[in-house]
């Protein structure tokens, strides 16, 4: 520990103070894309996490195009399978949200894990259907589902679905909301990883925006397709 001072735990994203040497990588402001909002909520996916948000929701106010790349590991986690099928079924159209839990990966959890991932997506969809006056486009789930954390354990799915509406009602486009969502997806990370940028394109006068959040500190050698 003396050498790099990086004691880490899995349970609580944001629990530890950000190391002084890493603070420069955490933005204090940002410029975020129109029509996207971020929110988070505390579930306590890991029982030892009693305080910190571990559920993140990123949502578009209108249906949008969506695409994803996934691990090529043959033991693909349930949310990977469920999201891949969803994007294929919808041909990447009409996507509304990304819901992410940390603390449990929902990986190698069999058919029950698949059902849990589907339930996470459907519970998120319900929030949008309510706000869209009960209207649904009839093409199934519109939510990308992600999980990260411990492998081989079932999700506490009831606890998660109970808190999805909280994350939904917390949605906002402020910097603090984006940063809280970035923190909620962390596992052994020592700092939240969030970037935003403005740009233009040659054939238009509009200014566009990009936001990105990522997490990862160990088990990292991605080979996604």
């Amino acid at each position: 520990h003396r050498t790099v001072n990086q004691i880490r735990t899995y349970a609580a994203p944001g629990e530890g103070a950000i190391p002084a040497s890493k603070k420069k990588y955490v933005p204090t402001s940002g410029t975020y894309p129109l029509g996207f909002r971020a929110g988070s909520a505390h579930v306590g996916v890991k029982a030892s996490n009693t305080r910190f948000d571990d559920l993140a929701l990123i949502a578009s106010q209108s249906p949008c195009s969506g695409a994803a790349v996934f691990t090529t590991n043959k033991f693909q986690a349930a949310p990977v399978t469920v999201t891949r099928h969803m994007l294929k079924r919808r041909s990447g159209k009409g996507i509304r949200a990304v819901v992410v839990n940390s603390g449990c990966a929902n990986a190698v959890t069999g058919k029950g894990g698949i059902e849990d991932a589907i339930t996470m997506g459907k519970s998120t969809d319900q929030c949008f259907i309510k706000d869209d006056n009960g209207e649904d486009d009839g093409e199934g789930s519109r939510t990308i589902v992600m999980s990260t954390g411990v492998i081989g354990q079932r999700l506490p799915i009831q606890k998660i679905t109970d808190k999805i509406p909280t994350a939904y009602y917390n949605l906002s486009n402020t910097h603090d909301h984006w940063l809280s969502a970035a923190r909620a997806i962390c596992t052994t990370d020592t700092f939240p990883k969030l970037l935003s940028r403005s740009f233009t394109l040659p054939s238009s006068t509009e200014t566009y925006h990009l936001v990105g959040m990522t997490k990862g500190a160990g088990m990292i050698h991605p080979n996604m397709a």
Binding site: G66, A68, V80, K193, T214, N223, A225
Partner: protein
């Protein structure tokens, strides 16, 4: 596990969104390694809602598509680098640049092999200019035909803009200034440059970190 979520208010058709993301990921998230383990959950998603207006990007041969690809790739690289900066136990941020390869895939395979080598990573942690380990990893990169020992050179490139420190030139070891090597290796950021040939060829860049006692402590403590 690596997770990534990217959102833009640019108008991009789903088909183009897929190819843009795949292209950006190849040179960013698929070009990093912390510990060589590929997770069961790695996912990067990109959403585009068109809320900022303008002409939709629906032609992969358009100038807008090309510009969007460039913006997205640079952005994804910056995000991917943050992951490496937070590698478990990491004390160093290491860029591995392989040039002069017969193909991009060859260059990337060599870079990836070096990035996964425990002996290279522990040498970096120990601040040891151990080009032998770098060369060894270069030599066993699978499926690469463009590695010719007599044409291969290895250098450390300091991040302060000063001249590279040549360790091996065309297969022949250089007399290394150990004091300068030690100074370069003291820095948190370091670039390893492997030239497979002096001829013009393909280049790949990979980002990794060192391998410390702390990595073992963190993962030895962890329980499923």
């Amino acid at each position: 596990t690596l997770l990534g979520i990217l959102c833009t208010d640019a108008p991009i058709a789903p088909k183009q969104l897929r190819t843009l993301l795949a292209s950006a990921v190849t040179k960013s998230f698929n070009s990093i390694s912390i510990d060589g383990d590929t997770s069961t959950n790695d996912t990067v998603a990109l959403l585009a809602n068109g809320a900022a207006g303008g002409k939709p990007i629906d032609d992969k041969y358009s100038t807008d598509y090309g510009a969007m690809r460039e913006v997205l790739t640079e952005f994804a690289i910056d995000l991917a680098k943050l992951v490496v900066r937070d590698g478990e136990g990491a004390t160093k941020f290491v860029t591995i640049r392989v040039t002069g390869a017969a193909s991009y895939d060859d260059a990337k395979r060599v870079a990836s092999t070096i990035a996964r080598s425990p002996l290279v990573k522990t040498a970096l942690y120990g601040k040891d200019a151990n080009w032998g380990r770098i060369l060894c990893a270069t030599g066993y990169a699978e499926g690469v035909s463009s590695v010719i020992p007599e044409q291969t050179s290895v250098s450390f490139v300091p991040t302060d803009g000063s001249e590279e420190l040549k360790l091996l030139v065309k297969g022949e070891p250089e007399a290394v200034d150990e004091e300068r090597a030690a100074k370069i290796l003291e820095s948190e950021d370091l670039e390893i440059l492997v030239r497979l040939s002096e001829k013009e060829g393909e280049e790949a860049v990979y980002w990794t970190c060192d391998f410390s006692h702390e990595y073992v402590t963190i993962n030895g403590d962890y329980r499923t």
